[in-house]
């Protein structure tokens, strides 16, 4: 256990360092290729070289390495890391404090992902397990068709369609039928409403969850099928255990181990998907920040969001890998 944990931690630190450096290098490279962004602060107005130099200095964009294409600007790396570590992401091109923007956005994204996780576990795993247990029967085919469709319909399209169909059409009907403030009327909204955060997050959260659910469902099914055939399941039956116990304690428990790892990986897709989800539904989270930043070519915000979400993703997967050791004793005692 000890060795496994240490090795995994070392890997995480290394990966973290390289990712951070890549992001830093990208930032420098973008300035080197596209020109110093300080110029854009002044729009089309003519600006004196002195003022330009002063502004560059103020934003820490005056280093000569920023004009040498390909220079990794190693001298700036340390400073940037210590800034990021103290949650200082500088200002964007509208001179807003990026850290503040992000701090305000974090809770919404967390709320959204709580719903997403629940959808994965509740619908994804359950559907896969039930399909395996009713293999070759109606439910199995239904799950198969369902997962195929969720793979074949791109997430952003599913979001647009649900927004239009559930949010607008169904919502309008519900609002007319049950009143503007009825639960359904609020839930089926085309956009986020700060007065009812949870209710209006429900539909986009579920749709975002459906986004990555196919893999989870299918792996639950295969994993379950594989274990149902395992010798130890036969042993459990030979011990005269009840069917329910054989299924839950001796099959499901074993089958979930790989699924949990996959949930960690699926998070990456969902984090990307949150940009589109929050963008389309106007949810003021980190995804929305990135969505708007893309439209406005607001690189500092995109970098900050990418850095934070990448780090969260790495952390979650680190935790999952450690959890893996708890769940699978064969790794623990390697």
């Amino acid at each position: 256990m000890g060795r496994y944990v240490i090795r995994r931690l070392l890997q995480a630190v290394l990966t973290f360092g390289v990712v951070m450096f890549l992001l830093h290098y990208l930032m420098s490279l973008a300035i080197q290729i596209n020109g110093n962004p300080v110029r854009t602060f002044f729009g089309d107005k003519p600006v004196s070289p002195e003022l330009l130099a002063a502004t560059k200095a103020k934003f820490g964009l005056d280093d000569p390495c920023l004009s040498r294409v390909g220079d990794p600007c190693l001298n700036l790396f340390g400073k940037r890391m210590s800034d990021w570590a103290s949650f200082d992401f500088g200002t964007n091109f509208n001179r807003a404090d990026v850290s503040e923007l992000i701090l305000n956005a974090i809770p919404k994204t967390l709320q959204l992902f709580l719903i997403v996780t629940i959808v994965w576990v509740l619908f994804g795993i359950t559907a896969g397990v039930l399909a395996a247990m009713r293999r070759g029967r109606f439910l199995d085919y239904l799950v198969r068709i369902g997962t195929t469709l969720t793979i074949a319909i791109p997430g952003f399209l599913l979001l647009i369609l649900t927004q239009k169909i559930i949010g607008v059409w169904l919502g309008n009907w519900a609002r007319e039928e049950f009143g503007r403030d009825s639960v359904l009327g609020i839930m089926f909204q085309p956009s986020y409403n700060a007065r009812y955060p949870w209710l209006t997050l429900l539909v986009p959260g579920i749709v975002l969850g459906i986004f990555g659910i196919a893999g989870i469902t299918r792996l639950s099914r295969t994993s379950m099928l594989e274990n149902l055939r395992a010798d130890f399941v036969r042993t459990a039956k030979a011990k005269g255990l009840r069917q329910r116990r054989v299924t839950i304690v001796h099959t499901l428990r074993n089958s979930l181990i790989p699924v949990i790892t996959l949930i960690g990986f699926t998070l990456a897709d969902a984090l990307g998907g949150s940009v589109i989800t929050e963008g389309i539904y106007g949810i003021p989270g980190m995804g929305k920040l990135a969505y708007d930043a893309v439209k406005k070519v607001d690189t500092p915000v995109i970098i900050a969001v990418t850095a934070i979400l990448s780090v969260s993703y790495m952390l979650v997967n680190l935790l999952i890998d450690l959890l893996y050791a708890v769940l699978d004793p064969r790794i623990r005692y390697e």
Binding site: A268, L271, G272
Partner: protein, 311 residues
């Protein structure tokens, strides 16, 4: 030397035969299934549309000859899907919108196979620090959620032009490079795993003991077998790339204008869905979903046929 070769081939034969019969069994199994036949036909049509849109432009409409007077005009015999907001023929747009995404997907999947395949063989074959370096590199690229990383790259380099490329490639290549950067890792891991597995096989050991060179062992003996799992995933990878490109296009970061893609059409069409022009959203959506669905169904069927026990 020639002596050694004879023996090595003898040792290889059973394995290749086994592989071949696995594939031909799978093929026989697949040919009989209606979903497979239909998906394959759809894919064929879409590929034709993607590479030779002119063949399907039955009314001879020019997708770029637009007339603002015809904004969102209705459907008619010579304009099957009516007009878009700029008065361009929507059918022609949909037909010409297939090419960039499909070509991009094919470029990305091919490049992924080559790059991921090469790295996977090297890492799996040599192990040790070579493997360590490639595996950590995979970790790094997998640590940045794909869509975020792609957004970042494509936004930062949105004005960057690759000199000396035609318009079509100029439009496709930035998105393609980005997608390749974030997708070679999957192929590399699969190949690496199966290389490690086949490294221990008898016929590889035999080849090695007969003094075959590393390169020969890697590319003649190991790679052909190790490719099987990845090759069977090609249709699914293409589906994934078309999806990814459409998502990027929706954000305005995929294939660049003046090329048209279904993703862009969806992005603009969405705004008119509830204002009386649902077809502006539904037409490109249908094209996109049908294409992806065909690839997914074919891919699923191939995978099942090669590994029937979990069907």
């Amino acid at each position: 030397m020639s002596d050694a070769n004879v023996q090595v081939t003898a040792a290889v034969v059973p394995k290749t035969q086994k592989t071949r019969s696995l594939w031909s069994d799978a093929f026989h199994d697949l040919r009989k299934r209606p979903t497979v036949v239909i998906s394959a036909l759809v894919i064929l049509v879409m590929l034709l549309i993607g590479f030779f849109p002119g063949l399907f432009n039955f009314q001879g409409q020019n997708p770029k000859a637009c007339d603002l007077a015809l904004t969102r005009g209705g459907m008619s015999g010579s304009h099957w899907f009516g007009f878009d907001e700029f008065g361009c023929d929507y059918y022609a747009q949909a037909i010409y919108g297939a090419g960039p995404s499909i070509q991009l997907a094919i470029i990305v999947v091919t490049a992924t196979l080559l790059i991921g395949g090469l790295f996977g063989v090297l890492a799996g074959f040599y192990g040790g620090w070579v493997d360590a370096i490639f595996s950590r590199a995979v970790d790094v690229f997998n640590s940045i959620p794909f869509l975020l990383g792609a957004m970042l790259l494509l936004t930062m380099f949105r004005d960057w032009k690759i000199p000396g490329l035609g318009t079509r490639f100029q439009a496709i290549i930035p998105a393609a490079i980005t997608l390749i950067i974030f997708s070679w890792t999957g192929t590399m891991r699969l190949i690496r795993a199966s290389v490690i597995e086949s490294r221990g096989l008898d016929y590889v050991q035999a080849a090695r003991s007969l003094g075959a060179s590393d390169r020969r062992i890697m590319f003649r003996h190991i790679l052909p077998n190790a490719m099987a799992p990845v090759v069977s995933l090609i249709p699914l990878s293409i589906a994934g790339m078309i999806t990814a490109e459409a998502s990027l296009s929706f954000l305005g970061l995929g294939v660049r204008p003046p090329e048209i893609t279904w993703g862009m059409m969806i992005s603009t069409g969405a705004g008119y869905f509830t204002t009386g022009y649902p077809r502006l959203l539904l037409v490109p959506s249908a094209f996109l979903i049908i294409t992806i669905l065909a690839f997914v169904l074919l891919g699923d069927a191939i995978r099942d046929a090669l590994d029937p026990k979990l069907r």
